[in-house]
Symmetry: C2
Subunit: 208 residues, 2 copies
Amino acid sequence: MAIYTRRSIAELERFFRTNLINSVTGFKSVALIGTVSEAGQENLAIFSQIIHVGANPPLLGILFRPDKVERHTLENVRSTQTFTVNHIRPGFVKQAHHTAARWEVSEFAACNLAPEYKDEFPSPFVGEALVKMGLKFVEEQQLINETILVVGEVQQLYVPEDCLGDDGFVDLENAQSVTCSGLDSYHTTQKIVRLSYAKPDQPLKEIN
Amino acid sequence: MAIYTRRSIAELERFFRTNLINSVTGFKSVALIGTVSEAGQENLAIFSQIIHVGANPPLLGILFRPDKVERHTLENVRSTQTFTVNHIRPGFVKQAHHTAARWEVSEFAACNLAPEYKDEFPSPFVGEALVKMGLKFVEEQQLINETILVVGEVQQLYVPEDCLGDDGFVDLENAQSVTCSGLDSYHTTQKIVRLSYAKPDQPLKEIN
């Protein structure tokens, strides 16, 4: 077993530490965030710091780094108050990863992904994505390390019919949504089990 | 394609909406959080709202619901200022899920998981977990829907040697860490690809 302490982590080589700490959060949600500037310049960026905040109202949180990389997205979210979140499928994982580069042009064009405007929502969706949503900015909070948590409310939501269960559960495997680990590793998934609501002293049932 | 709007989401049956909105965040980090009360009562609870906050200092965020279910964990974090985060493996997914029930006794005993104390860290780890860390409370912030984001700093970190790459990347597949989707579905993963740092106009390379 490799053992690290707060002190030994601080003394690690920078890239080693970044990979290590980004890995140990576990498998992460990963999605492409689509925005447009007030001047009409489209932007697309990959994010893996995405968190469910609440179902009613339907809220989602995204953590932005304080540095330059994602600044366009954050600026656009602040100025237009809207953004889209688009799940990534294996067929465009490389294109999605490449949006992280510092392109001077739109990442849609640079990475060969199709901007899609739907139902009058002002921010661009990713045409290639199956599960996608349009969100309205609700609040932002700065955390201790100057990262910024943006909370958005789902305004529009698109899910393939054949991935949607009678109970509202979305079969993300069937929708081909990928997960990521660390900074740069992408994965498909295989279901182990879906389990019933947990109650004390009652055995769990498998949900099919 | 199933299409929902802010309005139609608000009108959904409650459990359908909860499943739907919990699903569309994508695959999530999931882990067992171990704490102990000031009186010495151990607690273990499953969380899937976990987010990487930063690598230097090594920070991780966990979102707590405002309701009763996770209150013991949050109370213990506030009073003892420490907690552990333990990755879940397929062999104890059912036990991990069952910690979500409202047990009157310690979830370690109720769900047959072994509390483990290591290197003088005050909160209990999960003996069955391979990837695990001990964290110190750093800050908490309340979000708009009264959920509470707790940020913790990694004090101790344990990773199996054979899952740790030369560059600090942890092979979570090899470590058997699972991911979850929605409220109740657990998944193993299969690597698609690991990709090099993204630069404009340079093709991405696969990292082995």
